[in-house]
């Protein structure tokens, strides 16, 4: 319902319009209802935040984008250090990486010595965790969230 509306908000807001009240603008759009939402693409979720940021970043030219990236990396170095916080079990991470490397279900089954049905079960749980519908969306979400 409201997802479409948010998208339009983000797309039509120019950098110039952000000059005043950037902070409150962002906060009100990140969590319109003030509560945390679990879905990958719902308002307040990391996926939504990244989409919002992406929509704003495209409005900057290349040197400005690089400068922002440099400053950001410097200020949030401790957030990005070390291995990614695991939301997945070891086995799920394994399957995610094998999938991203281009292996089919059959190939993953052969590598991990488990049946294709077991992989299907794992994918189902992983999609549930990520709020995605299929393996392609799962991989896309994993990249958008910096898990891969």
């Amino acid at each position: 319902m409201s997802e479409k509306k948010h998208e339009t908000c983000v797309e039509t807001t120019g950098v110039a319009e952000l000059a005043s009240g950037t902070r409150s603008w962002m906060c009100s759009r990140l969590c319109p209802t003030g509560e945390r939402v679990k879905y990958v693409n719902g308002p307040g979720s990391p996926g939504f935040v990244m989409e919002t940021i992406r929509a704003m970043m495209v409005q900057l030219d290349r040197p400005a984008r690089d400068e922002v990236a440099r400053m950001f990396a410097a200020s949030y170095a401790n957030e990005t250090a070390g291995p990614a916080a695991p939301d997945f079990s070891m086995r799920q991470w394994e399957i995610l990486r094998l999938l991203a490397a281009g292996n089919s279900t059959k190939e993953i089954a052969a590598i991990l010595f488990i049946t294709e049905q077991t992989i299907a079960n794992y994918l189902l749980r992983m999609n549930e965790k990520m709020g995605t519908n299929n393996r392609v969306q799962l991989i896309a979400a994993a990249y958008r969230l910096g898990m891969l």
Partner: protein, 115 residues
């Protein structure tokens, strides 16, 4: 670059950093680290243009639809092309990205900073 341009650019950079700080403030725990990682991954690495193959406008549209998790049949409705046409475009995208299948193609596109 003249003085006005560089000042505008500085303002834009400052505002964007402000927005990012606000975004990070609104996030906690794992979400916070995920967004930080995703941001650095997407904008921090310098990806050379040779890494990204040249796709036609239609191939880009199909690739974006794939990244949104659309099936071939759903692409038919979204893009208004025939099923076989979509299949053909997916094959071409997969070939250009040296991928084994559509999931791999989307993964490669992300890895090369195309999405």
């Amino acid at each position: 670059m003249n003085a006005t341009q560089s000042r505008d650019s500085l303002v834009a950079v400052t505002m964007m950093l402000n927005v990012l700080d606000a975004a990070m403030d609104a996030l906690t725990g794992q979400d916070r680290s995920r967004v930080a990682r995703a941001f650095v991954h997407k904008y921090g690495s310098k990806i050379s243009d040779d890494d990204a193959p040249t796709l036609t406008a239609t191939q880009w549209r199909v690739l974006r639809a794939l990244a949104d998790g659309y099936s071939t049949q759903q692409c038919v409705f979204r893009l208004g092309m025939a099923y076989r046409t979509i299949s053909f475009h997916i094959e071409q995208i997969t070939r250009k990205l040296n991928a084994n299948n559509r999931t791999h193609a989307v993964a490669e596109a992300f890895r090369r900073g195309m999405l």
